[in-house]
Symmetry: D2
Subunit: 92 residues, 4 copies
């Protein structure tokens, strides 16, 4: 089969996280330069949304990979419970 | 086989939604009685959290039921994509 | 002075909450009728968003009313701290 | 008078953002090392919460500073409307 779903997404995820790292540094710069709070807050909001997209992408590959495999091997309930615990964190 | 996962949760979900309906009416009463905004807001926050728990419970039963079935029948990708679209709504 | 900000919004807030109450009952009906989970989840998501709008409207009137009054009377810090505690609940 | 509220928080905010930057790099490393998805997701969730705390801290200093000043100068409504637009982003 070759690469896992996570593997396939790896490059994409790393490039997104690299961009998010840059956004975090940009926010630091905005604070150092005493930029207007509201502009900083909107930048934080954009960064949070970008991080959320990374999480959704990982959730998709995790569900397609680990969770689907567990279901096919009749040990799905545990994997789904674990998935729900993660979702509980993300949907607060 | 018997009841589906949703079926099993049905009574529990309905009783939770009945309680949430009561909370919504309680919030209306608080507004009619000019109660302190902050108290009303905290009540809205509690209701939102209760609604979120209903959603998580449905997500669990949907994943254990429909999604798991689709995966076992080798048509999992579509079901997982649909699940992710729902999650995208809930994790904003 | 006449009506407070909350007072002015009262009718609007009550009409929105009445609609949300109807949405909650609609969700109960969907569960009773074994409707597709994903459709129920999207309806919950819409209801959650409607509730969030009510909260934002209350936050606005609270800030314009109580918080602004406290700031003008030089006792703003306490009111702002309380506001932040509420926001902490809503931004999780 | 001296430092503004933002100014006072500056060092604290920058140190938190530095830590968040480290967390983002840590997530990249986890992905490179093919760590378990669920562990990565929990780390993303923790980072998101840390970012949210930075936002709340900025919201507090913005409200205590800019918004309070605007209210005292009888031009509060505009500042509060702008604040609500930011909150609308953060409470989704």
């Amino acid at each position: 089969m070759g690469l896992s779903y996570v593997e396939r997404n790896k490059e994409d995820l790393l490039s997104r996280l690299k961009k998010i790292e840059g956004q975090i540094r940009g926010i630091q710069k905005m604070i150092e330069e005493d930029r207007y709070c509201v502009d900083i807050l909107l930048q934080i909001s954009a960064t949070r949304a970008a991080l959320q997209k990374v999480a959704l992408s990982l959730l998709r590959s995790h569900t397609r990979g680990c969770v689907a495999r567990a279901i096919r091997q009749n040990r799905g309930d545990e994997a789904i419970d674990e998935l729900m615990q993660v979702l509980d964190q993300f949907t607060r």
